[in-house]
Amino acid sequence: MEDKLETIYKRFKENEGNLISILQDIQEEFGYLPEKAIYWFSEQLDVPPAMFYGIATFYSQFYLKPRGKNVITVCSGTACHVKGSEKLINSAIKELELPEDSNTTEDGLFTFEKVNCVGACSIAPVVIINKKVFGKMSAEKLVKELREIKKNE
C-alpha cells in the first residue's frame, strides 16, 4: 500500500494537486478511500485527517467502504425521472436483494446507486452498468442484464 501512496504523493507534488485530487487518486487506486491511506497522507502533509474526512463525505463521488465488483448506476435526472427511472430503481433493488442500510450486496458482487443526471437525457431513462451506458432502459431489460452478470460471476 505504501508504494502506491508514494506514487500518488509524487503525482500530487508534480501536478500541484490538492486534497480532492489526492482523494480521487486514492480512490482510483483502491476503489474506495481506505482509512489508512488518509492517515498516511495526513501525516505526510501535516493536514488534519478531519479535513480529509470532511471532503470525502461532502462529495458524493467518494466511498469510504469498498464497493461491489459490479457497479450499477441508475440516472435519476429529471428526464429519466419523468420517463420512469423510479421503476428501474425498484426493480433493481428487488433483483439484487440489497440490504437495508447499504447499497452494496452482501456478497460484494454489486453496488447499486442513483446518480444525478449523467447528461444523456435524450435517451432517458439511462442506466450505467460497469461504465457502459444503456439508454431507453426498461425494468425488464435491466433485470435481464443483471441476471446475465450474475450468471457469469
Binding site: E35, P48, A50, G54, T57, F58
Partner: protein, 360 residues
C-alpha cells in the same frame, strides 16, 4: 471615515468593517448564532440579515462590509419575520429538552426562542438522531443539539490551529465530527466548548454539577504556566464546578486543557488537611524515589507543628549560624507569599539562602 445610516441614524465609521461590527460598536442589537468577533465571518445562521437600500434581497450583517452612504435597516416586521422562521427551523431540528439541558440559562438558542416567543413551532419533521457517544474524557459532544454554526470547527482550525473536527457530510445530514466519527482526540483546549452557543459541547467534569442559578463567578488567574490567562471560576456550594474565561480579557478568553479542565485537583481527596509530623525515621541509605505515604506521619495541631518548626530552626541557627538554613520558594505561590518568604529568611532567619526552583 465614511458615513452610513442605520435605522435612520447616521454614523461615521471606518471603511472596510462589516455592518455587524458597526452595530456592535454602537450598541445596536442584531441577533447572530454563528458570528464571533474573534473568528472569520461565516454567514451560516442567517439571523443577522438586514436590509440595505437598493439591494434586492436581505444580506447578512456579519459578512457585508459597509460602504459610503449605505442605508441599513436592522429591524422591521419583514426582517424579524424571516429571523423568526430561521429560529423555528433550527428548533424543529433540536431536542428542545431545556428542562434537563446543562446549558439552560446560558444558551443563545434558548434566548432567541424566548425573544421570538416560540411556544409552538409550525415546522416539524425529521430530527437528526445520533446513537453513538463520544467517549473522550473531557468534552461531552451531544450533536443532536448542534446547530451547525461551525464556530467550534473554525475556532479549532483558525485559532487553535488543530483542525480536530470538521463538518462532514452535507445538507440535512451535515455533522460536526472528528475524522471517521471516532472519539475526539485533540489538544482538548475546550475552545469549542467555550464558543458553542448551545448545549452541544460541554465539559464532562462539570456535567450535573449545577447550572447558572446561584453560581458565584470569581475572576482569577490560571495556576499553571506563565501565560497568565485570566479565568473565571464558577463556584457552587464551596466547589469549583466549571472554569471559563471572558472573551474581553487580554487573552481573548482562550484557555488550554489544563486551565479549562485541570481544576479537579482543588477538590481532590488527597489534599493535605492537617499538619503532619514524621514518625517513621528516614531511610538515609536509599536514593530511590520516595513514595509518599501518610503512614510515615502523624497528624498534629497547628500549634504543635509551628512550635516544633520554630524551635528546630532556632536551635539550628543557634548551633550552626543562620547560613545553615535555606529556603526554597515556589514559582506557583503569589507575589505576596514569595515576598514574605524571602523577607522571613532575610529578616527573621538572617540568611540570603533563598531561591526558587524555577529561577532559571
Amino acid at each position: 471615515m465614511i458615513k452610513v445610516k442605520i435605522d435612520g441614524k447616521e454614523y461615521r465609521v471606518k471603511p472596510g468593517i462589516t455592518i455587524l461590527q458597526v452595530a456592535r460598536e454602537n450598541d445596536i442589537y442584531i441577533p447572530t448564532l454563528c458570528d464571533d468577533p474573534r473568528l472569520e465571518p461565516y454567514g451560516g445562521c442567517r439571523l443577522c440579515i438586514v436590509q440595505i437600500k437598493g439591494m434586492p434581497r436581505p444580506v447578512t450583517a456579519c459578512t457585508t462590509p459597509v460602504t459610503d452612504g449605505m442605508e441599513i435597516t436592522t429591524t422591521n416586521e419583514y426582517i424579524e419575520g424571516l429571523r423568526k422562521t430561521i429560529v423555528e427551523l433550527i428548533l424543529s431540528d433540536h431536542p428542545n429538552d431545556c428542562m434537563v439541558c446543562e446549558k439552560a440559562g446560558d444558551c443563545s438558542l434558548q434566548e432567541l426562542a424566548y425573544f421570538y416567543g416560540i411556544r409552538t413551532n409550525p415546522y416539524y419533521g425529521e430530527r437528526r438522531r445520533y446513537t453513538t457517544k463520544d467517549n473522550n474524557p473531557f468534552i461531552e459532544r451531544d450533536m443532536e443539539k448542534c446547530i451547525l454554526c461551525g464556530k467550534c470547527v473554525r475556532v479549532c482550525s483558525e485559532v487553535q490551529g488543530v483542525g480536530a473536527i470538521e463538518i462532514a457530510y452535507r445538507g440535512f445530514t451535515a455533522k460536526v465530527t472528528p475524522p471517521f466519527e471516532k472519539d475526539l482526540n485533540c489538544e482538548f483546549c475546550g475552545q469549542c466548548v467555550s464558543i458553542c452557543p448551545t448545549g452541544a459541547l460541554m465539559g464532562k467534569s462539570s456535567l450535573g454539577k449545577g447550572r447558572q442559578k446561584d453560581v458565584k463567578k470569581i475572576e482569577t488567574v490560571c495556576p499553571y504556566c506563565g501565560c497568565g490567562c485570566n479565568m473565571t471560576l464558577h463556584v457552587l456550594r464551596n466547589e469549583v464546578i466549571r472554569v471559563s474565561s471572558r472573551p474581553d480579557n487580554f487573552h481573548e478568553g482562550w484557555l488550554c486543557v489544563k486551565g479549562r479542565f485541570g481544576f479537579e485537583f482543588i477538590n481532590s481527596p488527597d489534599r493535605l488537611k492537617r499538619p503532619l509530623i514524621r514518625v517513621k525515621p528516614r531511610d538515609k541509605n536509599s536514593k530511590e524515589l520516595p513514595v509518599p505515604d501518610l503512614n510515615d506521619f502523624r497528624e498534629a495541631s497547628w500549634d504543635e507543628a509551628l512550635d516544633l518548626i520554630a524551635n528546630k530552626l532556632r536551635e539550628i541557627k543557634d548551633k550552626y549560624g543562620p547560613d545553615a538554613i535555606a529556603g526554597l520558594s515556589s514559582a506557583r505561590c503569589t507575589n505576596e507569599e514569595n515576598y514574605i518568604f524571602q523577607k522571613f529568611f532575610r529578616a527573621v532567619i538572617g540568611t540570603n539562602n533563598i531561591d526558587h526552583c524555577a529561577r532559571y
